[in-house]
């Protein structure tokens, strides 16, 4: 063969090619790939196979053949299998945790706690509070809360003012009898007790209505609005020697809310006494 020149080699190859085409042998290679002739090549396409998506399946997808073209198709399938395995393992672990909880201690609370951990993950503590609130909904919620507060103040004052009139002018205008329940009501010594009881009842009704609104809108008023709570919630847990600092601050703010309402009404009482003296 080395004795042949380049031109002669090329001529030889050309002749062989022409013969092959004449015999119809050109399509043999193509047929081998598409599987129309008897071929050992794997003709499965990755597009035909829906099992290539990352789902929890450990069933082997395709028969592996040592052909280069199919290796690329194989690799994503093997990686999904490897991904699926940890997920399957996690679910198995959770199931075993639940079973252990049921077997070792028949405690409802530990069951609920483990179920919640499995189901919610990190959001187990306060799912409503962790999710960011839609600003439009928050606006509407604040509008409702402000209206409730305003109506509460107005109604309380409408009830308090006649009572204050009776306390100051009751003796002069003969509204108050000297004895009996109405007489006790008009007695100045009972004023603070009556006033405080009324405040307690009014505040309880207000807080009940506030909780209904919060439940309907799924918004926590203090959490969403208070800048102090936002700052405190950013403080990491171990920084100060106080546990659950956010919860304690929320409690303090709620108590202060109640106290400020009470103080507001006491201010009205003082001003009303002054006005009733002048008029």
């Amino acid at each position: 063969m080395s004795t042949l020149t380049e031109a002669e080699k090329r001529k030889l190859l050309r002749e062989r090619r022409q013969k092959k085409f004449a015999n119809g042998g050109a399509s043999s290679r193509l047929n081998k790939i598409t599987g129309q002739s008897d071929s050992h090549l794997n003709t499965d396409s990755p597009l035909d196979n829906p099992k290539n998506e990352p789902v929890l399946e450990s069933v082997p997808v395709a028969k592996s053949a040592p052909i280069a073209e199919t290796n690329e198709v194989e690799q994503p399938q093997t990686t999904t299998e490897s991904e699926n395995d940890p997920q399957v393992q996690l679910l198995k672990q959770l199931a075993s945790m639940q079973n252990e909880g049921a077997d070792s201690t028949p405690d409802l609370f530990s069951l609920l706690g483990s179920m919640q951990k499995g189901a919610d993950g990190k959001e187990g503590v306060d799912p409503v509070m962790e999710a960011p609130v839609d600003p439009v909904l928050l606006n509407y919620h604040n509008y409702l809360v402000n209206r409730l507060k305003a109506w509460t103040i107005l109604l309380k004052w409408i009830i308090l003012l006649p009572y204050l009139y009776v306390i100051t002018r009751g003796a002069e205008t003969n509204i108050c009898p000297s004895s009996g329940p109405l007489g006790n009501l008009c007695d100045p010594s009972n004023f603070f007790m009556v006033f405080t009881s009324f405040e307690i009842v009014a505040t309880s009704v207000y807080y009940q209505k506030l909780q209904t609104i919060e439940k309907n809108n799924k918004v926590n008023t203090l959490d969403s609005n208070s800048k102090i709570i936002k700052i405190v919630s950013m403080v990491p847990e171990g920084l100060l020697p106080i546990t659950n600092i956010k919860g304690k601050v929320v409690l303090l703010m709620q108590y202060w809310d109640v106290l400020s309402v009470f103080i507001g009404d006491v201010c009205l009482v003082l001003i009303a006494f002054g006005l009733l003296k002048a008029l």
Partner: protein
């Protein structure tokens, strides 16, 4: 403890305080509220006070006008047909832009000075005199409550003597205990703590109560009367 007894012949004279003190206090409160409600107009007042006649503002307005006319002229002529004029205008516009920027900075600094002036005048004419009045006449009684049995002793003392009572009362209790062992009467004599039969409302407490009541009334009126009605966003989305 010395306090004035209320006279009985007219209702207004039930106020034990001198009239001018009460009137001045009311005037200060009203002025404060007026300033609070007109805060939106403060910028306009500052503008009128400082900008109207100042040369810097006039020059700024003139340059701005010149810039505007040149820009209009440049837009009206074609850059290709009147190239020379167009480029000349362009160069002028660039120069004017620099001058306008400088003058604007001057005008803004003047505005800042005007705002500062308004703030200082508010401090001098309203805040400080009001504070002075409260410190000077704060302990005087405005009127007496109908009965001393209305509130518990702690609150009675606070209305009569002010917030200081809340600090002095426990101290007096401690000192009276100490006095039974050691003689500390030289200290207790100086501590005048309310213990009298008639309970009055001191000016400081009355002003605090008045501002609190006014704020509550404002809140109620703003929320119920003046506030705009909002629709439930969930229901509004469902309707759409």
């Amino acid at each position: 403890m010395n306090f004035k007894r209320p006279s009985t012949h007219s209702r207004m004279s039930e106020y034990t305080m001198e009239n001018w003190v009460l009137c001045a206090a009311i005037v200060f409160v009203v002025a404060g509220k007026v300033l609070q409600y007109t805060s939106a107009h403060h910028e306009a007042w500052v503008g009128r006070l400082t900008q109207g006649a100042t040369p810097a503002y006039k020059a700024y307005a003139a340059k701005l006008h010149e810039q505007k006319t040149l820009q209009e002229e440049n837009h009206s002529i074609s850059a290709q047909d009147n190239y020379a004029r167009w480029t000349k205008n362009n160069r002028k516009l660039d120069k004017l832009a620099g001058e306008v920027k400088e003058l604007r900075a001057q005008v803004l600094s003047q505005q800042g000075q005007g705002r500062k002036l308004l703030k200082n005048s508010r401090l001098l004419l309203l805040t400080l005199p009001f504070l002075g009045l409260k410190l000077w006449k704060g302990k005087e009684i405005v009127y007496y409550l109908p009965s001393s049995r209305l509130f518990p002793h702690l609150l009675n003392g606070t209305w009569h003597q002010g917030w200081l009572f809340l600090a002095m009362y426990p101290l007096k209790l401690v000192l009276s205990r100490v006095n039974s062992v050691y003689d500390v009467s030289f200290v207790t004599e100086k501590l005048t703590v309310f213990s009298g039969p008639a309970v009055g409302v001191s000016l400081g407490i009355w002003l605090w109560a008045l501002t609190s009541v006014l704020a509550s009334i404002e809140f109620v009126v703003n929320t119920l009367v003046l506030g705009e009605k909002l629709e439930d966003p969930v229901k509004a989305a469902k309707k759409q």
